[in-house]
Amino acid sequence: MKKKFKMEDLDCANCAAKMEEAIKKIPGVKDASVSFMTQKMMVEAEEKDFDGIMKQVVSVCAKVEPDCKILI
């Protein structure tokens, strides 16, 4: 399933690209995109693993840009 999340304070386009790449590397993530323009993130993964995956998503994003918040 696909889920969309709003993001706050995503200030740099290159960071968005880095986040997207890092999220795609998380095991179980089928597809992901981080849009700098709409300040939104889309993650696609199996429903049963979703919560666990989102925890990892938050942590990899915090590594790239600690100021950016994902509104879950």
């Binding site: 290159n14 690209a17 790449e21 700098f36 323009m37 300040q39 889309m42 590594k63 790239v64 600690p66």
Partner: protein, 627 residues
């Protein structure tokens, strides 16, 4: 401006004043005596930290997280380098200029986000639901299918539905780009997202909010960003290698020449710092998707939804377009277009045909009755005059009109009954009429070409589409006639839905890889073809939900002329994106080169970074402008 931006502006001004004061003092000799001491860099650290403390904080934090090629870190190293070689004022100025650029950049991006959001401002906030005579405002999400909602003048229609009461003019501009309002009265369907004009309407909803037009459109546009164009992917990949490569070059430049050539380290470290400042790829990474975003925005402003940057890119390379005839180039409404009476008057022939087809529900019969009603001011044919109607499958009908045997049907029926008729060569469906063995004439029914279809074809030729092909399940003559009228290059008639896929595949095989093929259809039976073509174009208002789902580009008001407009928008968007790539890379390469030979200073380097970024963003914003 946001609070964050205002705070930044304040910091910029404060740092600038401090810096200007210091700069003035130093150059008028007021700081003489402390120049050799450590006091001078310490004084310069005041404006430096005012403007750059957050950069240093982030740089250190990100380094701990293992982000080596982070732009904050690179800026920190570059400015520290300037301090190290004694260029204090330059170090401060670079940081200041960099922050000004960043501020500009965030302002420009915010602006463009806003203008796209404004354009997409079609989401209804509430619905007025009528319960026991009282109007209550509810969230459109909570309205069930079949509820009666009330839309007052000036309000946005929250859900798709059918008008049950009232009459009004509806402004569909936000969805279709069409500026002439549409009339809606009881029985008409209205779609969500449009604005109600003059009168109050009562509407029975036919869809839930999530399935309604407005929700679908918003979802499509939001997701458009995730389907990336080739150019976007190229830039992201490029950016991944660009920063490390430039940074490594900087290190090499700082270390090797002084070791080999000997001499001072100062000037080489300065050159390396220039490299570090330029190493951020942000201008490219921002301006490319922003350009595409603008292009998609411009297309939606004229009522065309493009479902992703990749499709916008493909539209620019479109050289072949395949049309489905019925419902796309023609209206899909059959009308009596010609009457060829033989020995009687035209009206008599039409009346006879209307009587003969009085009981049939076939589209041809319906259109004959409609034509009769139009001629006789709405009068229905007098059905008491007919009796004993018999359907002759594959031939036509046989009825008694005023007791006389009347035959209506194709040429075969006439020759079967030994009636000599004058064959009619017109395109369309021909109904021959005979009474008591005497041929009385023919009625021609054909589909009506859509308004603007001809201009659409010639406009497409003008924008560089080489081949226009038409596919249809219709007869050869009818197809040829429409093709001739519109200026179509290639026609394939009498096709089954599966044949259409085969034809499209044949055309796809025959075209060079760089060129793209589009298929435009109303989506009835052609969802497979829509998916198979490089670009599937669907008619939004007539087409089914399945077609909108399967298509890559949706024409909201079914106007085929918009296809050429989208080609122009996509070409302009691509041109802007290319300009940005060439400009940003060009300036960066030039400053890198000049920097390596010691001919550029830090100021130029900062310009090559944030200055270019701002210019590229402003340029990308042009893509948003509709023609």
């Amino acid at each position: 401006m946001t609070t964050k931006q205002k705070k930044m502006l304040f910091r910029v001004l404060a740092a600038f004043l401090l810096f200007a004061g210091l700069f003035f003092c130093e150059h008028t000799g007021r700081l003489e005596g402390i120049e050799e001491s450590l006091l001078l860099p310490a004084i310069y650290l005041i404006p430096y930290l005012t403007i750059g403390y957050d950069i240093i904080y982030k740089a250190i934090r990100n380094i701990i997280h293992g982000q080596v090629f982070d732009e904050n870190f690179l800026m920190m190293i570059a400015t520290f380098g300037a301090f190290a070689v004694g260029e204090y004022s330059e170090g401060v100025a670079v940081m200041l200029f960099y922050q000004v650029g960043e501020l500009f950049q965030s302002y420009a991006v915010g602006k463009s986000r806003q203008s796209i959001a404004d354009m997409m401002d079609i989401c209804p906030e509430y619905a007025n639901i009528e319960q026991a005579g009282v109007l209550t405002r509810v969230d459109p999400d909570d309205v069930e299918v079949g509820s009666i909602i009330v839309i007052r003048p000036g309000e946005r229609i929250p859900l798709d539905g059918v008008v049950t009461e009232g009459e009004s003019l509806i402004d569909t501009a936000a969805l279709t780009g069409e500026s002439v309002p549409r009339r809606a009265a009881a029985g008409d369907t209205v779609i969500s997202g449009c604005v109600n004009g003059s009168g109050t309407l009562k509407v029975r909803t036919t869809k839930e909010f999530d399935d309604s037009t407005v929700a679908k459109i918003l979802e499509l546009v939001e997701n458009a960003g995730s389907k990336k164009a080739k150019m976007e992917n190229f830039i992201t990949r490029f950016a991944k290698y660009y920063t490390p490569v430039v940074t490594i070059c900087a290190v090499v430049l700082a270390v090797l020449p002084p070791l080999i050539l000997g001499g001072g380290w100062g000037s080489w470290i300065q050159r390396a710092c220039i490299f570090l400042v330029i190493s951020c790829p942000c201008a490219l990474v921002i301006s490319v998707p922003l350009g595409f975003f603008g292009g998609i925005g411009a297309a939606s402003r004229i009522g065309v939804l493009v479902k992703g940057s990749n499709y916008l890119e493909a539209v620019a390379e479109m050289t072949t377009i395949v049309f489905d005839k019925t419902g796309t180039l023609t209206k899909g409404e059959f009308r009596v277009t010609e009457l060829h009476p033989q020995g009687i008057r035209g009206e008599q022939l039409l009346e006879l045909a209307a009587l003969g087809e009085g009981y049939s529900s076939h589209p041809i019969a319906v259109s004959i009755r409609e034509a009769y009603a139009g001629k006789s001011e709405g009068a229905e044919p007098d059905m008491n005059r007919i009796s004993g109607a018999r359907e002759l499958a594959g031939y036509g009908v046989c009825v008694q009109v005023d007791g006389k045997e009347t035959l209506l049907g194709n040429e075969k029926l006439m020759s079967d009954r030994g009636i000599s008729c004058v064959p009619c060569q017109s395109a369309g469906t021909v109904v021959y009429v005979a009474q008591e063995g005497v041929f009385l004439g023919a009625v021609v029914i054909s589909d009506v070409v859509r308004e603007g279809a001809k201009e659409a074809i010639s406009a497409m030729k003008q924008v560089g589409v080489k081949k226009c092909v038409m596919l249809t399940g219709d007869r050869e003559e009818a197809a040829e006639a429409v093709a001739g009228e519109l200026g179509i290059d290639e026609v394939h008639a009498q096709l089954l839905p599966a044949d259409k896929v085969a034809q499209v595949e044949r055309l796809l095989d025959g075209q060079p890889e760089k060129e793209k093929l589009a298929f435009a259809g109303d989506g009835i039976n052609d969802a497979p073809v829509l998916t198979r073509a490089d670009i599937g174009i669907a008619m939004g208002s007539m087409g089914s939900d399945a077609a909108i789902e399967a298509a890559d580009v949706v024409l909201m008001d079914d106007d085929v002329r918009k296809i050429a407009a989208v080609v122009r928008i996509s070409r302009r968007t691509l041109a802007i994106v290319k300009q940005n790539i060439v400009f940003a890379l060009g300036v960066k390469a030039l400053v890198l080169l000049l920097g390596a030979f010691g001919m550029a200073n830090m100021w130029e380097a900062v310009f090559a970074d944030v200055g270019v970024s701002v210019i590229a963003i402003l340029n990308a914003m042009r893509a948003l402008k509709a023609e």
